[in-house]
């Protein structure tokens, strides 16, 4: 079922599975791409170093969509990962559900770990941007991607998250030590009083997903947390804005794979231009190629101001809007994806799935605020409210 790209030898330690965007020494890191098939990094990611020194073993490198840009691993050069009924499941989620790993550490660029957790009945934290070092991950969209933790329950997620949350001088966007430390420690219960349910986004999802939102509301209400439905027209703007920023940054980051220094080189070339073009054409999948083309277009002289710069302005609008929402509400409740299962075939036949489904994940990606997926739904909170969000997850886990 293509759960792993590289499976580690059995280890006695409590094992964490990594998605293949996280660089490791001794195991190749492919980013799900033919371009990096067999690529061995000279250094390992800060997150892996921290996990190892805390005594965790590494279960292996789970299957990953190419450069983490897709919906749920369907673009992996090594084949998508699906369950017996043909539904997509992320390699990381499968490894946890099969008992190979206690938790997963994966890169959230376009929401994959969150929707993977929601679909597999797991809990995932995308921590506040800057609290987990991005040193040693294959970069795609640096301004918003975050190293995330997935496990069977909020308590397990918190345990692993506390291990990798730390200031790192090797990452210029890393938050100061005291800020990182402030979100370590116990999951916080009882701090939140009021959660806004984003009705227009809930309505856009299918009835099974709506039912999951309803049970989450019931669980919260039973714990004395009020829920209030609101319609919000600003948050959906995140989708196209994040798509522009992500594509532009990914295009730029992926440009280093040129066939010159490492990675795939086409055997078919007569000059330097053919070396570039053929290597990249032969090694990248369709979604990556479209991202590169689209991202390049967004940054062109003609489009920079009307497209890229506008997306950056929308990012600021969304951040300010979220701040104002968090003055009234402690957290937002919304779906993590629009359905409760996706067959491999339907996702592969519609290349827009990743974009369409980013409607739910882009708000937290573009603004850097923490998000938790659990019990098939998603919570978004203000910056550094990670542990409080995990508290909400615990309430919903109990009910589910």
């Amino acid at each position: 079922m293509n759960k792993y790209i590289t499976k580690a030898a059995e280890s006695a330690a409590k094992a964490v599975v990594l998605d293949d965007m996280i660089l490791t020494v001794g195991m190749p890191t492919t980013a799900g791409s033919k371009m990096l098939d067999g690529y061995n990094s000279l250094f390992e990611s800060e997150a892996v170093t921290k996990l190892k020194s805390a005594g965790y073993g590494i279960a292996g490198k789970a299957n990953t969509g190419e450069f983490g840009l897709d919906f749920l691993g369907e673009t992996s050069h090594f084949g998508a990962c699906a369950d017996e009924s043909g539904n997509l499941i992320s390699g990381c989620a499968a490894a946890i559900n099969d008992g190979d790993a206690f938790a997963a550490v994966s890169l959230d660029t376009n929401g994959t770990p969150r929707r993977a957790a929601a679909l597999a009945g797991l809990t995932c934290l995308k921590p506040t941007y800057g609290t987990v070092s991005r040193y040693g991950i294959v970069p795609a969209a640096c301004s918003g991607e975050a190293v995330s933790v997935t496990a069977k329950c909020a308590a397990d997620v918190a345990e692993v998250a506390d291990c990798i949350i730390a200031h790192d001088f090797k990452d210029g966007t890393s938050l100061p030590e005291e800020v990182c430390n402030s979100i370590k420690g116990n999951i916080k219960q009882g701090e939140f009083k009021k959660v806004a349910v984003i009705k227009n986004l809930v309505d856009s999802a299918d009835s099974d997903t709506q039912a999951k939102i309803a049970s989450a509301c019931t669980a919260l209400n039973n714990s004395g947390i009020a829920t209030e439905e609101i319609n919000d027209e600003i948050l959906p703007l995140s989708q196209s804005a994040w798509f522009i920023l992500m594509s532009a940054e990914a295009c730029n980051n992926i440009s280093r794979y040129d066939g010159i220094k490492f990675g795939y080189r086409s055997p078919n070339y007569k000059n330097i231009d053919e070396l570039y073009t053929n290597s990249r054409t032969e090694a990248f999948g369709l979604l990556t190629k479209l991202t590169v083309l689209y991202g390049s277009e967004c940054l062109s002289d003609d489009n920079y101001m009307p497209v890229y710069d506008k997306a950056m302005r929308i990012r600021r609008v969304i951040s300010e809007h979220l701040n104002s929402l968090f003055e009234k509400y402690d957290a937002l409740l919304l779906p993590a994806c629009s359905k409760t299962a996706y067959s491999e075939d339907e996702v592969k036949s519609d290349i827009d799935t990743a974009y369409n489904e980013s409607l739910y994940t882009a708000p937290a990606s573009i603004s850097g605020v923490p998000a938790v997926a659990c019990a098939g739904v998603q919570f978004i909170g203000k910056a550094l409210s990670d542990k409080v969000l995990l508290g909400l997850a615990q309430i919903c886990e109990k009910e589910a």
Partner: protein, 478 residues
Amino acid sequence: MKFETVIGLEVHVELATDSKIFCSCSAKYGAEQNESVCPACCGMPGMLPIVNKHVVDLGMTAGMMLNCDINRTTTFDKKSYYYPDLPCSYQTTQWFAPICVNGKVRIETENGEKFIRIKQIHMEEDAGKLVHDDWTDTSLVDFNRTSVPLIEIVSQPDLSSAKEVLAYLERLRNLLRFARVSDCRWEQGSMRCDVNLSVRPEGSDKLGVRTEMKNMNSLSAIERAIEYEVARHIDAIANGTEELVQETRRWDDVKGKSYPMRNKETAGDYRYFPDPNIMPVVIDDEWFDKIKSTLPEFPEIKEKRFIEEYELDEKVASQIASSRAFCDVFEGAYERYPKAVEIANWLISDCSKILNRKKMTADMLSINGASLGELIKLVNEGVVNRAGAAKILDAMFDTDIDPKAYAEENGFIISNDTGKIEEVIKEVVANDMKSVNDYKSGKEKAIMALFGQAMKKLNKNCDPKTLRELLIKYVDSI
């Protein structure tokens, strides 16, 4: 019809930092191929750029030397293009908020002084180097220079002749070397320049078609290239020999001609955008003031002061003021021993001689000024003689020594111990009675031989006058 030339320059200067701009690799020139490289400057995924603070220090220093405004919040941006010597396929540079803007540089021209406006100075990383291997007929990449910090100094189109360009470049080089921003060595590529040039009928307010010559790396080539391009432009405008197009051209210094570059890399949509991995660099007052306080006096001010305050003659003052290292040693020595003219002589003759022998430039003089002052004092007070002092000075080039202690340890102190001198005289005389007899029989010069032998035995470390007197006294007594 008379024509006027409009020239603007983009000057690249490699900064004199120990390490590269975003990683800790050495930035020193002359390493083995691909010796100074790491995953970051080879473009491997997963490394994040951390700005070398010294680069910002030097960027700021350059701006202050060139009378620029410093942007207190300065940001880095990515510039994308594909070339094998650019490992990430993007160069990190400054596009939206460069560190310095709106400067001006004074130059001397035939018609008096002129100010050349500086549009901006930005910090960026250098690219690597392609090396062609003839044996296998392939190109290889050397990443030693990738991510070596540069500043690019962009002038306004205020220059109007090759002569002015040379004066401007010399002035930049002098100021930047003076402030230790860069060693500015054309031959090592630590200074190079792009020349933007157009020609228009005199008095016209419309600019002519602009051509750019990239990567010029010597003053003489720049001069020839400008003269060639100006002639070509005038010929095209006046005689219609060709249609001028806006383009990038390559100067072939051997053939003495410029050629259009047909390369795609000049096509120019670089898709700039802010680097999300580098937070804006905020220069607070404390940082700004610290750099400001380390700025050297401008060389011409120093020169003037040397003439007025120290009474050096103009030629000597200008010679010392041409190098920051000379100035620093001079002033350090003066503080220890205020004899300006003598110190200047020691610098210009003795020190320069040693620099020449060691094939070092004036800027590489790194002796301790106070020690030089001390040494000159020792000579003047008759504690060491010139020959001994020359050896001590030589040793000062290798390590920072205390001249007096070194002289004592190595027997360079002039002996005033008459007992010892008399002992040596006795010994010399006993071994050369012939000279004594010759002297006594009227050949006065014979005593010179005895004097020489005694001096040699004393390692020249004695006052010649004392030796002479004691020798005559002794010979007369036997």
